[in-house]
Symmetry: C2
Subunit: 405 residues, 2 copies
């Protein structure tokens, strides 16, 4: 392979937006501009689709000030895509990169995006095209291999924890059963984050169902009843992806219409699972006040709920990607490794170890009951949520003696 | 009526929780403790139900420090209730108040709670029982008569605005149709607050449907199509209570099972309306990417999204209620009146002007199209959202000339 011409570098964002994905973008752009080899930093408009469509924007013309403001704005500032390039798609990518003299490609995204980088990297090598391709991690699902955790997850986890802290207080004031469905097809990290909204011993969520454990309807109903018997109320956190013992998603079983995106992922949104579980509890257990929410798109790009730790790390993986590309000699994925309580370091990991693989919660994070998290998980997650987490307080409720009864 | 014995005062919270209802509670408790006539401040556990059950807690024993922490905690710290007292219920209330020597009753709540205060006040007068009864306003629906706005609404409105700011960015990154259903049976204030999440001219929500205007399915579909044609994407905010020209709620039409609470209110939660509108858009307009969320309970008690203006005012209505009770000579409801841009003052308004009545959005707040708000509404709402509202920024997207095409 001839030496890489770094005069033009290209950044793109793929997959679902997060609260901090623009930190990585801005980290990559500003770091690139520090290298004298780099003359232009291009951005692909709407991910790889923007590359094949030759939809580039010149990020070199952005002011540093506006870039810093964009870094603090959630969602993908360059636009995103769900496209997953095959061989033909990658050949189109090469044609465009070659025509524009792009020598370095940064793609910020999750499992699917890392697989895209892997394919592009391999096709470039086969093609003899001198390209440096680096994957920058991002996903609220926290399901990338090798990584201790992934940028975007801590802020989404903070949102979920704060939402459950409030939902628990609401349920305490007006008791009954409350069920909230949280994003997560295969990995339960985000649903498990609901446990970080608990403070007092009787706080909810009282029951947490993650995709790592089979979901049995009868067991669920028995769990709810036991909680109601004990506390007179019950707050439930459940992953959208919970499945039965045969790995059939409960939501898919219930959905009348199933929709699949280009990656073959079933779309699990909508009120389906939440509404169905509500009806189950009402009809089988007879409780009157049963309420449910599906935490939808707000949990991944809510403006104004972000972890400062997540912001810093998302910025750093963007910066490190550029350093690995410009000072290094291989393609790869930037990975986050925990080194203390709490500190991290970054490595460049071979793409094959990340691409299209899914990490799930380790057993040590799930309680033996299968409906709670362990202290190991709390230790794992708490530092990621960042500073300034709101706290809930209670009256001490000194009872006044009854007179009439 | 003989003179009132203020040595024991009672505070209760009713209806749905808000982010700042405990500010009013703490305002009333701390202000009461400044009056030498007051020896004990009781709290009723779970509203009027706590009174008839003689479930009182002694708030005089609370530390000021913990009260301040509770004030900053969302949801009803004393617990709440949906009970609506009738004559018999009120006679039970009197019996308990008399037995405990309670001379002053503060009830923090919305329309239904103000009606409870009105009934209790009238029954006390009929009964010759010397009671001072004051209603302290609270409702995220912002639908109390006489009031410029009501405590709890500004914080919920801020949540809705921030949620739409994020949803708009998400929809910009991955274009399609996005629909979010917002709380509000009869008044569209909270749904209209979504407009305050807009910044750039093409930002969503592009369409806002409030209960004050009849909802026609064909018109809705035409609006969505026109927006998609113009922007290639469409963000919709719709009140859960939108109704057809015959005042039949769209959600009720679609709901298989209708549930009513003790006040005769139909429960409109769940994914029904959002899912049904999604199916409509998919089947009638053929768009592939159509997503919907129902903003459920999180919008009223999310921990960590609160307006500081709302906090201050909620505290003040609690304080003023005590001053009106101890220094005044009549029952009533504390009302908020706007006096500047932005300043407010408080009055004690006869209960009959508030109780069981509903304020809706004035015509001047709704655009002639019926699917947007006016600048008058923006002027009305913006100061209520408080300080530190997050802001969204964009790249300036300087396009790079295409080479191949």
């Amino acid at each position: 392979m001839s030496s890489i011409d770094f005069s033009k570098v290209l950044v793109a964002q793929g997959g679902g937006p997060t609260a901090v994905i623009n930190q990585s973008l801005v980290g990559a752009v500003l770091e690139s501009r520090k290298f004298r080899e780099v003359e232009r930093v291009y951005g692909a408009f709407h991910g790889v689709r923007g590359i094949v469509n030759e939809d580039f924007v010149d990020l070199t013309q952005e002011t540093t000030h506006n870039l810093e403001m964009v870094a603090n704005t959630p969602s993908s500032a360059l636009g995103s895509t769900r496209d997953k390039p095959d061989l033909k798609y990658c050949q189109e990518i090469f044609k465009v990169l070659r025509a524009h003299g792009v020598g370095c490609f940064f793609y910020i995204g999750g499992n699917d995006s890392s697989d895209t980088v892997r394919i592009v990297s391999e096709e470039a090598r086969k093609d003899g095209y001198p390209l440096r391709a680096i994957h920058i991690p991002k996903t609220i699902d926290n399901d990338l291999m090798v990584n201790d955790h992934t940028p975007g997850f801590p802020s989404a986890a903070r949102w979920v924890a704060q939402a459950f802290a409030g939902a628990n207080l609401d349920n305490w004031a007006l008791p009954g059963v409350y069920i909230a469905v949280v994003m997560g097809r295969h990995a339960g990290f985000l649903t498990a984050a609901s446990a970080l909204g608990k403070k007092f011993p009787d706080d909810g969520p009282h029951l947490i169902y993650v995709p790592e454990r089979a979901f049995f309807v009868d067991k669920f109903l028995a769990d709810v009843k036991a909680t109601m018997d004990r506390y007179g109320r019950c707050v439930v956190a459940v992953s959208e992806g919970v499945s039965d013992e045969n790995h059939v998603p409960i939501a898919e079983k219930l959905a009348e219409q199933v929709e699949r995106d280009a990656h073959g992922n079933v779309h699990l949104g909508g009120g389906g699972l939440a509404d169905e579980l509500t009806q189950l509890v009402k009809t089988k257990l007879g409780y009157k006040r049963v309420r449910a929410d599906t935490f939808g798109y707000v949990q991944r790009s809510f403006v104004g709920c972000v972890s400062d730790v997540d912001q810093r790390e998302a910025r750093e993986v963007g910066e490190k990607a550029v350093q690995y590309a410009l000072w290094g000699d291989r393609d790869g994925s930037v990975t986050i490794h925990r080194t203390g309580f709490y500190s991290v370091d970054y490595h460049l990991t071979p793409l094959e170890q990340i691409a299209a693989k899914t990490k799930v919660m380790p057993d040590e994070f799930i309680s033996p009951s299968g409906t709670d998290v362990t202290d190991a998980f709390r230790m794992y997650l708490r530092p990621l949520l960042g500073s300034g987490m709101p706290d809930a307080f209670r009256l001490r409720l000194n009872r006044v003696p009854k007179i009439l009864t």
